[in-house]
């Protein structure tokens, strides 16, 4: 069965599924209970599941992520919501030094089966403090799983996978994708964690993207198809576990690689993909690896500036053209 849902509705459906099917789940964060969340992700959940299962916290991200960890270690399966990904920096110690670490540092004796749900990226007029795409910080942190769903269906499937995972998982959605609509397989079995996906086959060049940049890459592919450039688009989906095999197999076919993300260039996760390609796909690569990313600036709020900072389909088109020409 597949329903047509908006991305944000798919999130809501996954959370409903989680609270309904697993009695050990609890959901908390700011304004998530009665108000239903600032974007409606938790609409109706409090009414249905009550304060015992979903409740509001004070504005204390360090406090409630630590609470999520302690609860996860001792038997619950918490899903904690960080309203904007930018606010995760306030709670970074709990993420990096605590949540990511306890399983390993206890030689596996404690588990931390928790989910940190957040949404990220720019939106028109949003300032630097509300526009981060911090996935590279999380992906560099050993011990964390990192999910970046690019479609309504993945918003549903990947969040459910995160909930059943015994590892701590950061699920970073993209605010700009919330209104997008698509088919969601609401009765699909819960997927295994991980796995990149070729979302458009192509022969000439591989574009690896995630989150909002997947649709930008697909749009770019359409434009380029008209020029006779056949683009293969890989939705990386999970930065951890990282399915580089799918990337490498694609590069083996195309010989060319472009990596696209919204976060700023230097130290972005595109560097990791490019670095692996430079090591593992060396013989296959027929052109320099190109990266599409924001320049290394904090995000400006003015749309006139965002227009040249935020990578879009046109940025991908340019990078692909340079790559196929090289």
């Amino acid at each position: 069965m597949s329903e047509s849902l908006r991305y944000i509705q798919a999130v809501n459906a996954a959370l409903t599924w989680a609270l309904d099917s697993r009695t050990d789940t609890v959901y908390f964060g700011e304004d998530v209970a009665l108000p239903g969340g600032p974007f409606g992700a938790t609409k109706g959940l409090h009414k249905r599941f009550g304060s015992d299962r979903i409740f509001d916290t004070p504005i204390s991200e360090t406090g409630f992520l630590g609470m999520a960890l302690g609860a996860a270690m001792t038997g619950l399966r918490p899903i904690a919501e960080i309203m904007y990904a930018d606010f995760s920096f306030v709670a970074m110690d709990q993420i990096v030094n605590q949540i990511a670490t306890i399983h390993y540092s206890s030689a596996g004796r404690w588990k931390a089966p928790l989910v940190i749900r957040m949404q990220q990226g720019y939106s028109p007029g949003a300032c630097a403090q509300h526009s981060h795409s911090p996935e590279a910080y999380f992906a560099h942190t050993a011990g964390l799983r990192v999910a970046l769903p690019a479609t309504p269906d993945d918003a549903y499937q990947m969040l459910r996978t995160a909930v059943v995972s015994d590892d701590p998982v950061v699920v970073a959605e993209a605010r700009m994708l919330y209104p997008t609509r698509g088919p969601v397989r609401t009765d699909a079995p819960v997927e295994e964690i991980g796995g990149a996906r070729v979302v458009r086959p192509g022969a000439d060049v591989t574009v690896v993207a995630w989150s909002r940049m997947v649709s930008a890459a697909l749009d770019a592919a359409e434009t380029l198809a008209a020029d006779g450039v056949d683009v293969e688009v890989v939705d990386l989906r999970w930065l951890n576990p990282l399915d580089f095999d799918t990337v490498a197999a694609s590069v083996a076919r195309t010989g060319r690689l472009v990596v696209a993300h919204e976060a700023n260039l230097t130290g972005g996760f595109g560097a990791e993909i490019a670095a692996r390609a430079a090591a593992e796909c060396f013989a296959d690569l027929r052109a320099p690896v190109a990266r599409v990313a924001a320049p290394d600036v904090p995000m400006p709020a003015a749309p006139a500036l965002q227009a040249v900072v935020v990578p879009e389909a046109a940025t991908v088109v340019d990078a692909v053209r340079r790559t196929v020409r090289a």
Binding site: P35, P58, A126, C127, Q129, H130, A301, A302, P303, A304
Partner: protein, 311 residues
């Protein structure tokens, strides 16, 4: 000073925010805005206790502070319109704008984060002996952020000239403060830092002024920080577009009776009413002129997007 001046400043802020809301509805403001309608008496009363050179730090709901401290109105509008304003060139927009020229250390869109920063401004004042104070305004919900706790304690042990104004509008976004703390008043936290704490009527600029002036004097003397909790109410949603379903029926209507401008109006005789009407008209013209001036400011040149990352 006194009533008509306070009224004018409060009316200017109100009109500013109302005009901004209209501009937002008209699609002239790209980002999200957080209005302070109903809370005007706080920046107005507090600013009366300040002088040039004193630092002010606020939250994303800080337009009132910017206006009260004399930040250029056209610049504010232009900044929020995403234009190349003289404030921040459109880069900060509504929730993060600042103005060194008016010692406005700025807003902050990370809850509580301005308090440590304001503490740093207070450190400068102390170490340079400038005699300045650093005033920082936050919301009620922000009192539960670790950064506020750390900064307040540090300011206290260092005897820094810091005044923390808590604008208690009883909500943080959509959650009531009574569900978020187990104290009746947030000023009850002052003893935890060994600093004075007072609760005042935040809808009365004179009451705010009196309390902040006392705190400012203490700070200038080198006796360290204080907390002033100003009780108020939000007349509008948390952000543009907030339908406020979470507020009980009648709450906003009742707040409209108590809000600072209505209060002045209610107590005014015919003569004062006429004067206030005149002020309103002047303020409206002034705001309209600022909007017009702002609209003349160009959008930032995309070629400058990479400038100013580093000095």
């Amino acid at each position: 000073m006194g009533l008509p001046d306070d009224y004018r400043l409060m009316a200017r802020i109100r009109r500013f925010e109302e005009r901004l809301a209209a501009l937002k509805d008209a699609g002239e403001i790209p980002g999200s805005i957080h209005l302070c309608n109903g809370q005007e008496a706080i920046p107005v009363g507090a600013s009366r206790a300040l002088r040039d050179g004193d630092f002010v730090t606020a939250t994303y709901r800080g337009h009132g502070w910017a206006v009260a401290r004399g930040v250029d109105l056209a610049g504010l509008f232009a900044e929020m319109m995403g234009r190349d304003s003289a404030l921040c060139g459109g880069r900060a927009a509504s929730p993060y704008l600042s103005d060194p020229g008016r010692w406005f250390v700025g807003e902050n869109s990370i809850v509580g984060a301005g308090v440590p920063i304001a503490t740093g401004a207070a450190l400068t004042a102390q170490r340079t002996g400038s005699g300045a104070v650093s005033v920082v305004s936050i919301g009620d919900g922000a009192m539960n952020q670790g950064n506020v706790h750390e900064a307040l304690n540090m300011a206290a042990v260092l005897d820094l000239p810091l005044v923390l104004v808590v604008e208690n509008n009883v909500y943080s976004e959509m959650s009531r403060i009574s569900d978020m703390v187990r104290v009746k008043q947030l000023a009850e936290r002052a003893p935890a830092y060994g600093v004075p704490g007072r609760v005042v009527d935040g809808n009365d600029p004179a009451a705010v002024h009196e309390a902040v002036a006392e705190a400012v004097e203490r700070a200038r003397e080198g006796s360290g920080p204080s907390i002033v909790e100003a009780m108020t109410e939000r007349l509008v949603g948390h952000y543009s577009g907030d339908a406020q379903h979470y507020r009980p029926a009648g709450e906003i209507a009742a707040a409209r009776q108590r809000e600072p401008l209505a209060r002045v109006r209610a107590a005014a005789d015919a003569e004062l009413t006429a004067r206030l009407d005149a002020i309103d008209a002047e303020v409206a013209a002034e705001i309209e002129a600022a909007v017009t001036a702002a609209r003349a400011v160009p959008y930032p040149d995309p070629a400058t997007a990479k400038e100013h990352v580093y000095v």
